[in-house]
Amino acid sequence: MSDLYQTDLLRMAAAADGAGRLDEPRVSATLDNPLCGDRVTMDIRLDGDRVAALAHETKACVVCQAASAVIARHAGGLTAEALAAELGAVDALLKGEAAGAGHWAELDVFRPVARVKSRHACVRLPFRALEAAFKAAKAS
């Protein structure tokens, strides 16, 4: 399973794009991974239905950190629909299928996680936290 911890993934986690908190005004969502206690908080500020600013606090493993970093890289202008499509691509990868064209190239680093079911939730947690933040924004 060494390929799970390929250099690209470790670098992405270390880069920690978007780490931190946003100032108010912001909408936030915090999600736990109940099995390991990991926790991701996503802060966003929206411009219409698009992300204008995003920051995250990711107290988690490198796999989850890398996922948060990937999201942060692509956050500008992101919509809830586009996020859902990316999560769909992630889920395809985790099933060992092709992600389909047009998705974030960095998602590829998560391909080796497919074999390790217990870690799927680590990749998905930041996506789900951002999903929750979008929902919270809509509700408010």
């Binding site: 736990d32 099995l35 870690r119």
Partner: protein
Amino acid sequence: MAFDVAAIRAQFPILDPAAHGRPLHYLDNGATAQMPQAVLDAVIRHETRHRANVKRSVHFLAEAATEAYDQARDAMAAYVNAAGADEIVFTSGCTAAINLVAHSFGALLKPGDEVVFSTLEHHSNIVPWHMLAKRAGVVVKAIPVTAEGRLDLAALPKVIGPRCKLVAVTHVSNVTGAETDVAALVAAARAVGAKVLLDGAQRAPHGPIDVAALGVDFYAFSGHKMFGPNGIGVLWGRGELLARMPPFLGGGEMITRVTLEETSFAEPPRRFEAGTPPIAQAVGMAAAARWIESVDQEAAHAHLQKLTARLLDGLDGMKKVRVIGPTGLQARFPVVSFAVEGAHPHDICQMLDEDGVALRGGHHCAQPLMAAFGVTGTTRASLALYNDAGDIDALLAGLDRTIRRLTA
């Protein structure tokens, strides 16, 4: 193609004629069915190759154990035709499954709300409701039975009233073998907005179940009665209903976060599976489901109908014997109870044991039904697909001798 009962029997080590140094005609399958080698092998393989706790660790054994447990859930979802694996809650048995509903669904009820069961029920589907009644002021009512030991459908409108929230009834009686007319029951329940729970303990061994077609809300059954291990059962629940129910047992695996002051709970099915689940048992139960599915269902059904007819015919010819329950083959499963004038079921069973015929005598955990029939117990033969004509004939011959001895 003829049903090859010898080939089936050969898969059950305990039925090996040499195993006990005496004959064995095992007709107590309603209590516990025997285990085929395929199920035993699945359990052994799991314990010797994939044993670990599930969902908690990331090493390769834990991955394998988790995968096995998830696949078991998938297999059980397929067996009952659930909308998804998340509708399958593993419990320690049918009794535990019904208690789960009594607590978790019961927590949604208010004093004065009604739960309807029937006079036909196994104690497992009565006592939890009595306890709920005491705990929460819920009112229990019972659907009466007909002289044939079936639900008295004519009474439904009277028993299932506007405050009824749940109708909890057996799918197949463990005493009479009668199959419940589920459609009529569901219609009556739906008319007042009540949910329906079926106790499938006696139905589950006889092939896949279609909860979607049945149109019910909960379905409970045990592994050990369907050729699987002890200590495992399934509660199937409609997804949106499970989602509304609070947890029952508290512990590891069913939480999202715990502090010293409070706990927040996970989604179903995890919410209802506190602590380390019965992993090897789930693997075994799934193997049992697959084993049942591997048998030609129609041929098995025909085989059991034939044996049931042979048994009913034989009993019909005996003076002093009264069948408790349907005497025909319509809408019934191969469970046959009878009373013998002047002879006690335990004495009958004990004497038949001398011939290696394993029956069950007593109230069968269905005392209200016994009361309805005016007996304290019956003698019961319950068949599984490995039974053959020799088993039935041994029963009939032994019974004849026994009656003569006990009622001389």
